[in-house]
């Protein structure tokens, strides 16, 4: 029997308990021993819930109990999670977490702490919910130099963009819809402003390149300025707008990272990733393109990933699973130098704009949307640097919106 403690009895914590109860037998087979939840840590009480027997309010009871071999941190947020996890590792307990903020900020350090003590710090559930991506990156894609990781890593924004595309809704209506469905928080900023995706791509990038990628360094743009007009142009192009979180190694071997809405067409492997699903596309220099798809959030899918890490921790009680994530910082390319094609909408019809646009961008690819053609002019630019585009945007007040294009 392997004793574990669960820190936090919220959505994921209850999911972990449920998964261990439901599949206990097959999990024991795979872990080599039965997994027993000895404690659950939460400040709240849960009257009537059988978990009460195991509930403690004082983390020290768990930290001081040598029988607890694995701590499962599913509280979220950097503090007090960081302090608790750090102490658990120092006390000789392996840690499993679903906490993207914690991993993005302190992953390299906590991995080091675990390694020094022949323990493990595992975080499959911190990115992509149930989708296996952390372990495949660490253990399956080891023959490759990773050239690109691009993910649709946030289910809320993907749901909103899917509804805008499928049902022609505006952003606000689609957001309300997502809130009513329980897919978006009352305060949706972390999702719709791209911060959640940013932390997740920081984690994936650090693992892919083996060095610290600070999330603060990643250019991040959310989906709040995507309108139903933009969607109309996307449809006219046979394209979709998706919130991409990307790290891309360019020809000079340097990496740039960004979170931003992009237009893609059906030939992109992430084109069919709709609604609350997540997808992660990886390009290696020998494997070519691979893609991982599944539920990026939700109680049971996330708990499934947490429990898979518990199984791995149980199988490697005194053996560190090697993960390459140095605390040395990876210097990212200045985003201003990165080039894209851009979709641009400008107010005024084609006749009014053609000359001006040609002067600004050279030859562009025009996009005709009948219902909008009297009032505005939409087109795709040639390759431009972010800096050039920013300059143009600031100097041309008539530009209504700009979206990066990946086709």
């Amino acid at each position: 029997m392997i004793n574990i403690a669960v820190f936090g009895y919220g959505t994921i914590g209850t999911g972990v308990v449920e998964v261990l109860n439901t599949n206990g037998e097959s999990i024991a087979k795979r872990a080599g021993d039965r997994i027993n939840i000895k404690y659950v840590l939460d400040l709240r009480e849960f009257p009537g819930d059988p978990i009460m027997e195991k509930l403690v309010h004082d983390v020290n009871i768990i930290l001081e109990d040598p029988e607890v071999k694995v701590v499962v941190e599913v509280m979220g947020g950097v503090e007090p999670a960081y302090t608790f996890v750090k102490k658990a590792l120092l006390k000789g307990k392996s840690v499993v977490t679903s906490n993207k903020e914690l991993v993005a900020k302190h992953g390299a350090e906590l991995l080091d702490n675990a390694k020094e003590r022949d323990l493990n710090f595992l975080f499959e559930a911190s990115v992509g919910g149930g989708i296996p991506i952390i372990r495949p990156l660490n253990q399956s894609l080891t023959a490759d130099e990773i050239m690109e990781i691009t993910g649709i890593l946030n289910g809320t924004t993907n749901y909103i963009l899917s509804k805008m595309s499928e049902e022609g809704l505006g952003f606000d209506t689609a957001l309300k819809n997502a809130q009513n469905m329980g897919y978006a928080e009352r305060n949706p900023a972390a999702d719709v402003e791209g911060h959640d995706s940013c932390r997740k791509i920081a984690i994936l990038s650090s693992l892919a390149f083996g060095m610290q990628v600070d999330f603060e360094d990643i250019y991040t743009e959310g989906i709040t300025n995507i309108t139903d007009m933009d969607i109309k142009y996307a449809k006219a192009l046979g394209a979709k707008i998706k919130l991409f979180a990307s790290s891309i190694r360019e020809k000079d071997e340097k990496v740039y990272a960004m979170v931003a809405p992009v237009m893609i067409k059906a030939n992109h492997p992430l084109y069919s990733v709709n609604d609350v699903f997540n997808g992660i596309f990886v390009r290696g220099n020998v494997i070519g393109d691979v893609m991982f798809y599944g539920s990026g959030a939700g109680k049971l899918p996330t708990a499934s990933a947490v429990v898979a890490d518990i199984v791995d921790a149980a199988k490697h009680l005194n053996k560190n699973i090697w993960t390459i994530w140095s605390s040395k910082k990876l210097e990212l390319t200045d985003i201003n130098q990165v080039q894209h094609k851009f979709f641009v909408r400008i107010s005024g019809n084609a006749a009014e704009n053609k000359d001006k646009v040609k002067k600004l961008f050279g030859e562009v690819e025009e996009i005709a949307v009948d219902s909008l053609s009297a009032e505005e002019y939409g087109f795709i630019t040639p390759l431009l640097s972010e800096q050039e585009m920013k300059g143009i945007k600031e100097s041309v007040a008539e530009i209504l919106n700009v979206i990066r294009v990946r086709f």
Copy 2:
């Protein structure tokens, strides 16, 4: 330095050499030591190829060299691969293989041999080429009871079906096209008759359910009787025809397995897996649906998976990575009892057929294809057992084709 030997200098063998040369530095970092190819075993000579220095024709030179820690078997076919691999394990060498015939037939036994000696027998490349699926099944989906695995596991047939669908080609033309592109063998039977997919789903099923699934027990139907007429109906339905290799756990907990063409619609995660790509869909009882996508064949993607296994073998030189695949046989459900909806084409127009069809199948969903409606009548049946459908097909000579439907 970790010395390895490569058995077979064909497509994959040369790929393995190329990948180790190209990414040697990052591979050494991940393996914890430099991987050195000490020998290549092949009966042929390769004049002018630098590999000549390492080439041997006698397997015993390698088997008797205690410096060789890992043997990479990429010869294909059951013999002599089986004898060589068995001997290598008995001599204390871990084995990495891409050989689906070998793994499907002797996987359980060779895993046991490896485990008894604290060695490893790894075979990521035997299914899905470069796509990480074996390791995720073993190590990531451990919290779940697997309810279904369905794969598009053969690039050749997927290419043929994609071309038939995209370009309206007949089977024979699409096959020739695939042969000209180098995607299909001169003797394409193993692919188009479904035998290749059958071995691969046998391997995945054995791992998913932890017991031996014999490929001989899996009902297998290829794509040779799919015609451009069938494709027309599929298009009218907004569907595609794909060669699915499936293992499905039914409500009674019993598993059925089959390889057969099926019609699917856009809501199926494998719908967008086109051309030579492979995709593997897994449904777990807690994780829900996940899907893995990538190049299912090809020199470098396959070599990438082989080399990732070499890295894993190097990291676990005296430590067995636990894989649950008992030699105890899994009793599959009799395929005759399995129920599907079926797409059926019958000669003669709707008026001539309606009454007869109603008597045979009850209420059906008619499919109108204008160009064919004078000569034949197409429809989708309600749920029927395979046995019932077989009986009807044998007794009604006018039935032109029957394809299982999954929507």
